[in-house]
C-alpha cells in the first residue's frame, strides 16, 4: 500500500527481565495504517499493544524491525504524531486553556494565532467556558476532552490513543466514542487506537488488528465495513454489526480460552 501513513514492519521487542536475560514481548508484528484510516489494536493485556504506540511516538526503539511514518524511519521522538494517553495527563499546574495551548507554545506559534486556535479546539470538544479551570476542577470526561483537544490543536496526521476511554464510566464513554468518531473524521487524521474492548474496536475502526498473547504475533487484520456514521449508543442497530463482531470475536476467543486453561 502506498498511502500508508504509519507502517510497522517486522517488529520484535525484548525487555530485560528482573531475573536477568530478556522477555520477548512482541515477536514479529507488521501492519499498516492507511491515510485517514481508523485502526484499532486489540489483544490480551500485557501483549505489548501500548508498546507499539510508544514506538510510533519514537519513545521506544524496537529491538528489531522498523516503524515508518510517511516513509521515514522513526529513530527519535516523533513530534509529528499526537498521543492521547490512558489517563488524561493534563498538567495540573496549568489551566485548561494553558494546557491546550502548550503544544503551540512549544512549537513557537505566535500568540494571537494560539488564542484563536485554543478557542476553536475547546469549542470542538465542547469545553468552551471552562478555559480558566484547573484540571482537578474538571470531571474525568472533561479532562479527557481537554486531552484530546490538546492533541488535535497541532493537527498531527496520526493520533495514537492508548485505551483513552478505559477509565470512564459507561455513559461518558459512549458520548466520547461518538464525539471521537466526528472529531477524527473532521480532523482527517489517521488514528491508531489501542483497546481491549471488542465492541469499541468494531464500532470505531475501519480495521481491527488482533494481537496474540505474549510473545505476541499478529493474529488477524480484519476490515470493518460498517457504514458511517455509526451508532455507538446502540451497536446492534448498525447493519452488519453482528457479522463484524463475530469475525473479530472468532479470532479473539482463542486467546481467552488459552488464558482460562492456564489457570
Amino acid at each position: 500500500m502506498n498511502d500508508a501513513v504509519l507502517s510497522f514492519d517486522g517488529i520484535r521487542q525484548d525487555f530485560p527481565s528482573p531475573g536477568g536475560g530478556a522477555v520477548r514481548v512482541i515477536d514479529g508484528i507488521g501492519f499498516e495504517v492507511g491515510n485517514g484510516k481508523f485502526v484499532a489494536v486489540i489483544g490480551p493485556s500485557g501483549c505489548g499493544k501500548s508498546t507499539l504506540l510508544q514506538m510510533a511516538a519514537g519513545l521506544l526503539m524496537p529491538t528489531r524491525g522498523q516503524v515508518r511514518h510517511r516513509g521515514r524511519t522513526i529513530d527519535a521522538v516523533n513530534r509529528e504524531v499526537g498521543f492521547v494517553p490512558q489517563q488524561a495527563q493534563l498538567f495540573p499546574w496549568k489551566t485548561l486553556a494553558e494546557n491546550v495551548e502548550l503544544p503551540l507554545l512549544l512549537r513557537g506559534v505566535a500568540a494571537p494565532e494560539r488564542r484563536q486556535r485554543v478557542g476553536a479546539a475547546l469549542e470542538a470538544v465542547g469545553l468552551d467556558g471552562f478555559e480558566q479551570y484547573f484540571p482537578n476542577q474538571l470531571s474525568g470526561g472533561m479532562q479527557k476532552r481537554g486531552s484530546i483537544a490538546r492533541t488535535l490543536i497541532y493537527r498531527p496526521d496520526v493520533i495514537l490513543m492508548d485505551e483513552p476511554f478505559g477509565a470512564l464510566d459507561a455513559q461518558t464513554r459512549m458520548v466520547m466514542q461518538d464525539d471521537l468518531q466526528a472529531l477524527s473524521r473532521d480532523a482527517g487524521a489517521s488514528v491508531l487506537f489501542v483497546t481491549h474492548d471488542i465492541t469499541e474496536a468494531v464500532l470505531l475502526a475501519d480495521r481491527v488488528v488482533i494481537m496474540s498473547q505474549r510473545p505476541s504475533r499478529l493474529l488477524a487484520d480484519i476490515p470493518i465495513d460498517l457504514a458511517r456514521p455509526r451508532n455507538v449508543f446502540e451497536p446492534f442497530k448498525n447493519p452488519g454489526y453482528e457479522a463484524a463482531y463475530e469475525a473479530v470475536w472468532s479470532v479473539f476467543r482463542s486467546q481467552i480460552d488459552i488464558r482460562q486453561r492456564a489457570h
Binding site: 510508544q54 511516538a57 519514537g58 519513545l59 521522538v77 516523533n78 513530534r79 504524531v81 499526537g82 498521543f83 494517553p85 489517563q87 495527563q89 498538567f91 495540573p92 499546574w93 496549568k94 502548550l102 503544544p103 512549544l106 512549537r107 465542547g126 471552562f130 479551570y133 484547573f134 482537578n136 476542577q137 474538571l138 470531571s139 474525568g140 470526561g141 472533561m142 476532552r145 490538546r150 497541532y154 461518558t172 458520548v175
Partner: protein, 281 residues
C-alpha cells in the same frame, strides 16, 4: 468549621449574614488559637517568683520591658543587622545551591549514581560539629555563620528538590516531548512546576535551620549578632535578656514562615480544589 452556609439560591440578605457569620467564626478561630499562648504567658507571669526564682526564668513583663529598652536605646540594632545579614545570605545561598544540586542530580541518573552516596554521607554529619572548624576557615565575622547556615539549608532543600524532580511522572515528560518540548522547555513547563511543591516545602522547613546554623555559629565565636547577645545575657544571669533575644528570633521565624506560606499559596494555586466541581459532559 467549614462554611457551607452560602449555597445556591442564597438571597442578598442571607448572603450578608453568612459573610458576617464567617467573619465571626474567623475571629473565633483566631481567639481559640491565641488562648493557649496567653495561658502560658499568664502562668509564667504568675509562677515567676512563686514557684521558681525570678533570677532563673524572668517573667513576661520583664522581657517586654527589656525588649522595649533594647530597641529604644538602639543597643540591639547592630546585633539585629549582623544576624539578619547572616540569615538572609545563608538562606539564599543554601536554597540556591540546594535547588541547583537537587535539580541536576534529579535529572541525571548518571550524576545521581556517582554523587548520591557522597551527599548522603555528608548529610549524616552533624553540621554543628563543624562550627569550630568553620570559624577557623571563614573567620570570626559573618562568613563562618553564613557558611554554617547555608550548609544546613542546602541539604534540606537539596533532598526535597531531588525527590521532587525524580517523582515527576515519566509519561508527562514523554507526552511533552511528543508535543514538541526541547530540554529547556521541559525544565520550565514540566520539571520545575512539578517539583515546586517539594521545593517550597524544603524552603519552608529550611527557615528554622538557617536560624540554628547562624545562632550556633555566633555562640561558638563572634563579635556581634543576636546569638552573641543571648550568649552574653545567659552568662551574666540575665534571663530577661535571653528571652528578649529569643523573642526576636521567634518573630523572625514566624515572619519568614508567613511569607513562605503566602508564596506557597500563590504558586500552588492549582492544588486547591474548587468547592464545587462542574458536572460531567
Amino acid at each position: 468549621m467549614d462554611d457551607v452556609a452560602t449555597t445556591a439560591g442564597a438571597s442578598g440578605a442571607t448572603g450578608m449574614s453568612a459573610a458576617r457569620r464567617s467573619l465571626a467564626s474567623k475571629a473565633g478561630r483566631l481567639s481559640a488559637r491565641l488562648l493557649p499562648g496567653i495561658a502560658i504567658l499568664v502562668f509564667w507571669q504568675w509562677a515567676s517568683g512563686r514557684l521558681i526564682k525570678e533570677i532563673y526564668v524572668s517573667k513576661p513583663t520583664a522581657v517586654a520591658v527589656r525588649l522595649y529598652e533594647l530597641f529604644a536605646s538602639g543597643e540591639i540594632y547592630p546585633h539585629l543587622w549582623t544576624t539578619g545579614e547572616e540569615l538572609v545570605l545563608g538562606y539564599v545561598i543554601g536554597v540556591a545551591g540546594g535547588i541547583l544540586g537537587g535539580y541536576a542530580l534529579g535529572r541525571s541518573p548518571r550524576l545521581a549514581n556517582i554523587f548520591e552516596p557522597y551527599v548522603m554521607g555528608f548529610y549524616g554529619i552533624p553540621k554543628i560539629a563543624l562550627a569550630p572548624l568553620f570559624i577557623i576557615w571563614f573567620g570570626i565575622g559573618i562568613g563562618s555563620k553564613v557558611a554554617l547556615a547555608s550548609i544546613m539549608v542546602f541539604f534540606l532543600v537539596f533532598y526535597n528538590v531531588y525527590t521532587g524532580v525524580r517523582s515527576v511522572d515519566r509519561e508527562l515528560v514523554n507526552l511533552s516531548l511528543v508535543m514538541g518540548a526541547n530540554q529547556r522547555q521541559l525544565t520550565y513547563h514540566v520539571y520545575l512546576p512539578a517539583a515546586a511543591p517539594f521545593v517550597l516545602l524544603g524552603m519552608r522547613m529550611a527557615v528554622p535551620y538557617s536560624v540554628i546554623g547562624v545562632i550556633v555559629g555566633e555562640f561558638t565565636s563572634s563579635i556581634s549578632g543576636l546569638g552573641l547577645f543571648i550568649h552574653e545575657a545567659s552568662s551574666t544571669y540575665d534571663p530577661a535578656g535571653v528571652f528578649a533575644g529569643i523573642a526576636i528570633l521567634l518573630a523572625f521565624v514566624v515572619g519568614a514562615n508567613f511569607l513562605a506560606g503566602r508564596l506557597e499559596r500563590r504558586l500552588l494555586r492549582w492544588k486547591v480544589p474548587m468547592k464545587q466541581a462542574p458536572s460531567d459532559i
